[in-house]
């Protein structure tokens, strides 16, 4: 069981680390993009900072007939959902709050992203935005069940819904080794959760940006920051669920947590760069005909292992 750190200190550290990793993800994506475009990759490292500065001074857009309240709420909800989900992720032996139902809490906070993206799409009173929001919900219906089953499988292996207990259960062997299908499914659904890479249809260029078509200035900055935070959080959660948390030689536990998070996040960013967008109606079939049966089989195997042990 991981401890809870002194009040105020751990939330602060959490926010700083999330910010650093989110920036790293954005910079990584920018570098990959720059290299593909043939421009200087090193200069791209500062691209997120430049873009942030530009958006801060850009005037926010107003659209006739917009539902401004829901629109702003949607934008603000995305980073909030990401940070709340990160509450239960342990950094080595310490978490902001190691809830007894941390796995369920994480999933519940993730799902707030559904609200956020749809509100962004709907609030703008724009057909592109609305279609983008709908795409994310369709995407959600496709990846959420496999995602849930992957989370359930990890909790099943540990016999607890507490994230700290899941980490403790991996002392001898990591869950990524015990349940590789669940780990792979988790990563796929993690990409979809952050509408990243092959699952960026909700903000696709064929929709002039989709749910992100209309937000401008600070609104857009909050949206993009929230997206990268979400990507960071789902990558970070893979570490305690499947990669043994802070376990590892030489380095202290918190350092191993950070290293593993960086590796997973880097992999997700790279995949996002390499894999083209997938149509949601096609992924729906894959999600329901392949990923769900696969995750159920994985859960069955883990159940048998737990009973036998």
């Amino acid at each position: 069981m991981v401890e809870s750190a002194p009040a105020l200190l751990s939330p602060l550290v959490l926010l700083v680390l999330l910010g650093v990793f989110a920036y790293g993800a954005a910079a990584g994506a920018a570098v990959l993009h720059a290299r593909a475009a043939g421009t200087a990759p090193v200069a791209a490292i500062a691209a997120p900072a430049r873009e942030s500065a530009r958006l801060l001074v850009q005037r926010r857009r107003t659209v006739p007939g917009a539902d401004t309240l829901l629109w702003r709420l949607g934008g603000a909800l995305l980073p909030v959902a990401a940070v709340l989900a990160a509450m239960v992720i342990p950094l080595g032996p310490v978490a902001v709050s190691d809830l007894s139902v941390g796995v369920v809490w994480f999933n519940a906070m993730e799902v707030l992203a559904w609200c956020a993206v749809w509100l962004l799409g709907w609030g703008a009173n724009s057909v592109w935005g609305l279609v983008g929001g709908y795409r994310f919900l369709v995407q959600g219906l496709s990846y959420e069940l496999p995602h849930m089953f992957a989370l359930i499988t990890a909790a099943l292996g540990a016999g607890s819904l507490r994230v700290g207990d899941v980490v403790a259960a991996q002392e001898e062997v990591w869950f990524a080794v015990l349940m590789p299908a669940a780990f792979a499914i988790y990563l796929v659904s993690a990409l979809a959760m952050a509408f990243w890479g092959p699952f960026d249809a909700p903000v696709g260029r064929d929709l002039a940006g989709g749910a992100a078509a209309e937000p401008a200035g600070a609104d857009r900055l909050v949206l993009l920051a929230g997206r990268y935070l979400l990507l960071t959080v789902v990558a970070a959660m893979a570490v305690p669920l499947f990669l043994g948390g802070g376990a590892g030689p030489l380095l202290p536990a918190w350092a191993w947590s950070l290293v593993k998070t960086a590796v997973v996040l880097g992999a997700l960013v790279w995949i996002g760069h390499r894999v083209p967008t997938v149509r949601m109606d096609r992924f729906t079939e894959v999600g329901w005909m392949v990923l769900i049966p696969l995750s159920l089989l994985q859960a069955l195997v883990v159940s048998v292992l737990v009973l036998v042990r």
């Binding site: 539902d67 369920v104 809490w105 519940a108 819904l161």
Partner: protein, 187 residues
């Protein structure tokens, strides 16, 4: 004391957002007012120490509202239906039924001889819940599960404009289905 304050805030919040569902003239806002009401209702569950059920209510209600909002917008996608729109119909009748129901329920609350509390709080309510669902109540859960599954399948069948004859031909002998968009599995 803190618990009492939290409970009162959530109770008032739940009722207020519940009222807002019917007062607001936007389908989207009504949906999220309803979600707010459910979230307020989830907090008392947490106060009772039912962590799993409380968080589960949040999780399920968020997803449910998002699915519902799709259908609401879909079915009312016309200028008159989106904004402004009214959730109030047959106001007099509805008001009479609502007040009557409230009176009956309130009377029940005050007149029922509630039993005194027995036993101690379990160390792990989630485990007890799991044991109840997988033990004495398993038959009920399985039947309910079957009913829900049948409902989902039926609603999908009724909503799809194309069936197996459209896909595989009148004699169902077409090797590959004639779908407007190929599925992800290349079948």
């Amino acid at each position: 004391m803190a618990e009492t304050v939290v409970f009162v805030v959530c109770a008032v919040g739940a009722v207020a957002s519940g009222v807002a569902v019917f007062v607001l003239d936007s389908m989207a806002r009504a949906t999220f007012a309803l979600l707010a009401s459910f979230l307020f209702a989830a907090v008392p569950l947490l106060l009772l120490g039912l962590s799993y059920l409380g968080v589960l209510v949040v999780l399920m209600m968020v997803m449910e509202m998002m699915v519902m909002v799709v259908f609401m917008i879909m079915y009312m996608m016309n200028p008159a239906g989106l904004m402004p729109m009214s959730m109030l119909h047959n106001k007099v009748g509805a008001l009479a039924v609502a007040i009557g129901t409230f009176a009956v329920l309130a009377a029940g609350v005050f007149l029922v001889p509630w039993p005194a509390r027995e036993g101690a709080v379990p160390a792990d309510p989630t485990l007890l819940l799991a044991e109840a669902i997988m033990g004495p109540h398993m038959l009920v859960m399985m039947l309910v599960g079957l009913v829900l599954f049948a409902t989902m399948v039926a609603s999908v069948v009724l909503s799809t404009p194309r069936g197996r004859y459209d896909r595989y031909g009148d004699d169902l002998r077409r090797a590959r289905p004639d779908d407007p968009i190929d599925g992800g599995l290349g079948r």
